[in-house]
Symmetry: C2
């Protein structure tokens, strides 16, 4: 009987694990689409910054974001240290995008200037 109980038990574990993983997969899809939307907006910010010669990084804004996300993380029962690391991870990618945009804009200006000479 122990064998039967074990088999049923491990079947239950597999069923539970599969259900959890389905939820994780749904949340991951949502995260990917949200991140894509977030980068679409930061790309627009990057173009705006490049056009008006603003620096790619903004430490004052980042400090505000960290403070706010830590507060939201606490409310959501998420480790605030992890939330801060997460924001740093995203911002590093955003700054990388902004640098590429600024570089391309500068190259575009140089090409335009060369053409106008």
């Amino acid at each position: 009987m122990t064998g039967t109980t074990d088999a049923t038990g491990s079947q239950d574990v597999r069923t539970a694990l599969t259900a959890y993983r389905e939820s994780i997969d749904n949340l991951d899809a949502t995260l990917v689409f949200l991140l894509a939307e977030r980068f679409k907006i930061t790309q627009r910010v990057g173009h705006l910054k490049a056009e008006f010669g603003l620096p790619p990084a903004d430490p004052a804004r980042e400090q505000e974001q960290v403070k706010r996300l830590r507060r939201l993380a606490e409310e959501a029962n998420l480790d605030p240290v992890f939330a801060e690391k997460f924001l740093a991870f995203i911002i590093a990618e955003v700054v990388r995008h902004h640098e590429v945009i600024a570089q391309n804009a500068a190259q575009g200006d140089a090409i335009a200037a060369a053409k106008s000479e």
Copy 2:
């Protein structure tokens, strides 16, 4: 007139930047709450794994997740390399949680064993 146009121009830039940042902040709040929910589920997975002696990491499952997220990233016009780095970042945190849960479970077993002697 150039001065006035510049002032209006930079006011427009500030307004546009503020609007973009409000959207970014909304998406960030959503990301934090989604991540909190994701970790709630992986904590349950951690307890299940600890209870049934399953290993904290699962390379086969991770490979499937990477493949799926890269496909979803392409669909969302998000850099698949970034999506993969993002998943690795999240999974590292999950595995850390699972190890803590497994350790605590082992300690609990040891205490229970000591008490029963």
